[in-house]
Symmetry: C2
Subunit: 334 residues, 2 copies
Amino acid sequence: MASRAESPATLARIAAEAGVSLPTVSKVVNGRSDVSPATRKRVQELLDRYEYLPVRQRSRRHDALTADLVFTHLDSPWAVEIMRGVMESGLDVVVSTMKDPGGTPWSDRVARAGRGGAILVTSHLTAHDRKILARAHLPLVQIDPVDLPSPDMPSVGATNWAGGLSATRHLISLGHRRIGMVGGPEDFLCSRARIDGYRAALDGAEIPHDPTLVRHGDFHHEGGYQQALELLEREDRPTAIFAGSDEQAMGAIEAARTLGLSVPGDVSIVGFDDLPVARWASPPLTTVRQPLSDMGREAGRMLAQLIREESLDNHRVELATSLVVRSSTAAPRA
Amino acid sequence: MASRAESPATLARIAAEAGVSLPTVSKVVNGRSDVSPATRKRVQELLDRYEYLPVRQRSRRHDALTADLVFTHLDSPWAVEIMRGVMESGLDVVVSTMKDPGGTPWSDRVARAGRGGAILVTSHLTAHDRKILARAHLPLVQIDPVDLPSPDMPSVGATNWAGGLSATRHLISLGHRRIGMVGGPEDFLCSRARIDGYRAALDGAEIPHDPTLVRHGDFHHEGGYQQALELLEREDRPTAIFAGSDEQAMGAIEAARTLGLSVPGDVSIVGFDDLPVARWASPPLTTVRQPLSDMGREAGRMLAQLIREESLDNHRVELATSLVVRSSTAAPRA
């Protein structure tokens, strides 16, 4: 597309000031030899004074590879963390979501854009998407895929099972025995892995499961609030809740406040993700840190390798989670 | 960069299967006429079976304009809201920050990238930045500039003064007379406008100013926490705080909790921005809504006009803020 300096107006102005024709100015710009040295000098001085940059220099593209980064939604601080990591991998990142305002399926848009490749975040791929993307022979990497990714689709995730285990072990070590769990949507593999980690920790401590203490939210605030409210309204309410995501944990804190229960005095709450908002919660959240930036950076690195047609060491990388203890957990009241 | 389908391997495989030479396959791909109809048919069937897409079709770029969207930092949910709006304007958006990991000044990087234009968010432009960007003749729009933008730099902001006024009037209408204010950094114009709105509301209600009740944070959680802590530790503590940003308001809620004060029972708190986290706070925040997505969309629309060399109706657009009343404000205790 035309940049302003290409507009005839600028060159015409220089031509007028130099007292030469527009084609003569063009000749100087394009380095042609059929211009007298005196004219060339006069025109060049004006080009310099107006800081005119030749088109070939202006349009020289940055060396970095450009890739699409496609989110299912762009509705959470979660996205910023991933994005920052992908950017740090050195790729130029075109950010978009799977909701195309124009009504074109996102996969058609990405396939047509003709960029180096794409990183897809927490994405359900339809048969149409798979077909279009395969046909475009576009290098792809998934972050935290909802389903088990097909073996030919490289992906990056976090150790969700180990994270669920350590969150629950932390609560057990404080003395909790009656621990509620609010997972994400039932069909999300990452949520299933966190719940399985929770169950493994209970088994390890020989605490019997109460299946009525395990509930499913939507990973968002509203789901955490509703599910925690129902758990905390019970006569035999749990003394602690592992809330499955930071947003859900903040919903659980609000559910406790609504019922007049204090956190962590009456109920301990653990999140998952360690978004910046985990520090802003009141009280600040004990949570399981997902290295979201690192996941983004790793996905970017893998995609760059694919674009350069290098082979990958691993098609599936899981980065370690870690427990961050803040103020939303304590021993249960005696 | 090379997409996989261009690799000689694919075409060689098709040539082998069709029993013809590689140049013959190329002729079919390129629509040349010097191939027998039978050979053309056989090769075309194989190209279809392998879903081979001609290069000219693959590299056809999406119609949308591509622009850089440059944030000072990418450390807040605030950024996602702006980003979503810019994307909705129909621009393809390359997101980056002013901190370049490679050490190249961001303005050089953006100038060299040769994209359609750039949107700069809350940016301090150095003399170097201004020079480089001017020389590149790159269409630019600023969102929420820190300084008063120069008249030739189009910008989009929100009605910060009116927002400060309505937040403070809301507290006055509840019966508060002793109202603290935590602004952002002193050199941020948007913060100054919010504080001026606060003062105008006090004047309107004939409440004398107490300059010791006005403090400056960093717009982030830590600043809000510290400043609110100092206000609330005083003997003559305010009964309400207008916290200048949602993050600062969440810091103020935590400061109150630390001191054993309830919100809104002992102190009312009002934020500014209405980020998604405002709903997740406990209690959910009364706040001044900045239409961040709309601001992003408007900036995108203006930039697209500049790229198409259309003239702008306005060089400075301020979109309206509005008060959102939730649960962090109430009448002061009698």
